[in-house]
Amino acid sequence: MKLSTIQSDAIQELGNIGAAHAATTLSQMLGSTIEMSVPAVTVVDLSHLADYMGEESAAMVAFELQGDIAHGGYILFYITRESAIRMTNTMLGLTETNRPLSEMDESALLEVGNIMVSAFLDATAELLGFVMLPSPPSLTIDMAHAAMQSLIAQMQEETNEVLLFSTELTCEEYKVDSDIIMMPERSTLNKIIELLENLMKTD
């Protein structure tokens, strides 16, 4: 899988727009400023997935991409366990950081993931004129690699490479560090690239 510079730039721009909307919602939920990284577009060989996702304990809210394509791939809200606690503490008015995650934390994480990913996909849909809807969310709090690997294993189109398209969202005030990671199926990616290329032609 090889992307041209123009394709990679176009996807990055799409990520910028999606992530900016997601950052706005997170900023409203936390009542604080959110910094956003330049989206990273990486083609990862499966055997090297461990270079991107390790053994660290993280909360991941995953969604299947649905809508105009039935099984479009996956998108997830990723947040390290430590950040997750600091974030839910802020939302729930708690202060103790050295504690297990409760059902309240899990609901809060699901809700944040849902709102952010919906905002991300809304914005990209508006730009592309192509609807990607999130499935109901599924949460896991465990080894990041184990969760990611499980999602890749259930992708529809078998592949030895995945395109990871991630944007980091951080909140300095509460020391919260999170990512939105999109992992489209090959056919979804091709469709997105085609739509982006059409957009650039008409501009």
Partner: protein
């Protein structure tokens, strides 16, 4: 083909679909629905480890370590070539979890992986001596062939056990 030799004390990291054969320590991290399959010959202090992702290769030949149906004969063949007899090889498998409740239900790749490995081991007359399979938990595995085939399984909460 990866070599059978590593520098002293080095641990070989095994990524998805990869495998190694030798007497050096081997490690694979973050098994979710994937399976870490270990084969060990106590008579020769020699072993192999593979990181399996899916049950069936459906004719794909490019990465035999990625699929249960091709990974088992692959490891058996490699160990046979080094003088291991099938009746002296013991196998251990780890992983096969279902990390996401909502998605896991209809596909359950972890369970299908484990079942396929069991079937393939039986077919090759390899004894499965231990397993740590299933649940909703990620696992990292380290295998020490020269320490009598010791296998350490570690979880995200920091707990670990030997199998």
């Amino acid at each position: 083909m990866p070599s059978n030799q590593l520098q002293n004390g080095q641990t070989a990291m095994i990524g998805i679909g990869e495998y190694r054969v030798g007497s050096f320590p081997m490690m694979t991290i973050g098994l979710g629905s994937c399976i870490g399959l270990i084969m060990f010959d106590p008579t020769l202090n020699l072993g192999a480890m593979v990181h399996i992702m899916l049950p069936e290769s459906s004719g794909r030949m490019d990465r035999p370590g990625k699929y249960a149906d091709t990974a088992v004969p692959l490891l058996v063949g490699e160990l046979n070539a080094l003088g291991c007899k099938n009746r002296s090889i013991i196998a251990k498998m780890i992983g096969g979890a279902s990390m996401f409740e909502y998605f896991g239900t209809n596909l359950n790749i972890g369970e299908r992986n484990a079942n396929k490995v069991r079937m393939m081991l039986k077919e090759h007359h390899i004894q499965l001596s231990a397993e740590d399979i299933g649940g909703k938990v990620g696992r990292s595995v380290t295998f020490f062939p020269v320490e009598n085939g010791k296998v350490v399984v570690k979880r995200a909460d920091g707990t670990s056990n030997n199998i």
